[in-house]
């Protein structure tokens, strides 16, 4: 059965390692912070100027001066640090952030990503996405395998305006975990109960399928 958004977040959380500094985009990526494995220290960065972002505040903790990049009220963990946007993007650009998780409209077999603009629609802006994809050491995309029309979002090349070139290393969808390498998607895992045929059929880009494709271990 295809994963729901929590399932995708749980699977991505399995990529976390102790000591990682991680930036999570808006949407499904944000949910990943709920599934940090027990006993592991993972520090979340928010590009508006937080290292050590904590959970949402309880009502009495709400502080208008403390928000995340999604403009939501948040808290700080013990040992957090605050800084300005220039410093924050310096940190990102210098490769100090180990992992960025973000959503996408399209990903190509070359690791290109498009997630900011649909021609003909009102463009809200790229925010920090172009800086994040150009700077982070490792980028995982969390998205649905297909768009609402049922068309594959894993393509030979992106049709939408790009956010970044050749930067995505891994994609986690409701159906599969895929690595991107040497101009191909590589099927690593399938969602529990999902058949390889469905993934093949919904992946428009070149897809390498090994003989045995394990099921994701999600609980």
């Amino acid at each position: 059965m295809a994963l729901d958004k929590y399932g995708i977040a749980k699977r991505i959380a399995q990529e976390l390692r102790d000591g990682m500094y991680v930036n999570l985009g808006i949407g499904i990526p944000t949910l990943v912070s709920n599934f940090v494995p027990e006993g592991m220290t993972v520090i979340f960065q928010s590009e508006n100027g937080i290292l050590g972002m904590g959970p949402y505040p309880v009502e009495e903790e709400v502080d208008a001066d403390l928000i995340n990049a999604g403009k939501e009220t948040v808290t700080l963990i013990k040992g957090a640090a605050l800084f300005d946007s220039a410093e924050s993007f310096g940190m990102i650009r210098a490769g100090k952030i180990d992992l960025t998780v973000l959503g996408a409209m399209e990903v190509s077999e070359h690791g290109d990503i498009a997630n900011w603009k649909i021609p003909g629609k009102m463009v809200k802006g790229m925010g920090g996405a172009m800086d994040l994809v150009a700077g982070a050491k490792n980028i995982i995309v969390a998205m649905m395998h297909t768009n609402p029309k049922g068309e594959s979002k894993l393509l030979p090349q992106c049709s939408l305006p790009l956010t970044g070139l050749g930067c995505v290393k891994k994609v986690v969808t409701e159906l599969a975990v895929l690595a991107i390498k040497d101009g191909c998607f590589h099927l690593l895992e399938r969602a529990p109960g999902v058949g390889v045929e469905e993934i093949v059929q919904k992946t428009a880009g070149k897809l390498i399928v090994p003989e045995f494709v394990p099921e994701m271990q999600i609980n």
Partner: protein, 232 residues
């Protein structure tokens, strides 16, 4: 040396139509509420506003949009504002979108006297069109230029009469860099204190960058997305 102004209206009194302004804040977080209200009252037109976002319909830069005082916005993300969208689609408003890190760094460089620098953000995208592209150690970078403004308008938590500023939590955002990039920098503060009351080790923006300072009133500090959890 007197940098202290009695009110927002006095502090912005010489900003005229057609000026380029930097306005600090991220969404509604840490915005110069008093100065924005004064700009609305003054009703100057044709402003170019450099600000990461464009406020919401009835607060922040949205107030200046409503009164059609803004000719052009230079931002990274402008998605929270219906009037903005209307003006943009009707061609009344011009928008230049810049990657957030590039925007922050272009402003920072202006305050450091560095006219141009190289960043990887936007390589291979439409942002790179027309820009110098260069390789350093096998990676591609775009040349980007420092971004200046006639006036930088920021809001800090505390400030002293010499112009030293201290910020709270995530309100630093673009404000600390903008404060250094304005030809004239105007700071509004929640609390204006005398020199010596701010620990020199705690200053976020040194007074040398700040030309005018005033104590703001009635901070609303509106929250854009109030997210809470239930249990402690």
């Amino acid at each position: 040396m007197n940098k202290v102004f009695a009110s927002a209206d006095e502090a912005i009194s010489d900003i005229s139509s057609g000026a380029t302004l930097m306005l600090g804040g991220f969404g509604l977080n840490g915005i110069p509420e008093n100065a924005i209200a004064a700009l609305v009252r003054k009703n100057i037109q044709q402003l170019t506003c450099i600000s990461n976002n464009a406020g919401v319909d009835d607060f922040g830069l949205g107030l200046l949009l409503k009164t059609k005082q803004i000719k052009k916005m230079i931002s990274s993300y402008v998605g929270e504002n219906a009037e903005f969208e209307r003006q943009l689609l009707s061609g009344e408003l011009e928008v230049e979108l810049i990657p957030q890190g590039t925007l922050a760094t272009r402003i920072q460089m202006a305050g450091m006297g560095i006219p141009a620098f190289y960043t990887p953000a936007g390589y291979g995208t439409e942002i790179a069109v027309g820009k110098e592209i260069r390789d350093f150690n096998g990676k591609h970078y775009l040349m980007e230029h420092a971004l200046h403004a006639d006036f930088a308008i920021v809001k800090a938590w505390k400030g002293d009469t010499l112009g030293n500023l201290v910020f709270r939590k995530t309100t630093r955002n673009f404000s600390t860099s903008m404060a250094k990039a304005g030809t004239i920098t105007i700071a509004e503060v929640e609390e204006l204190v005398t020199p010596g009351e701010i620990d020199p080790d705690a200053v976020d923006v040194a007074g040398v960058y700040v030309h005018r300072i005033f104590e703001g009133k009635h901070y609303e500090k509106r929250i854009e997305r109030r997210t809470v959890r239930l249990e402690k």
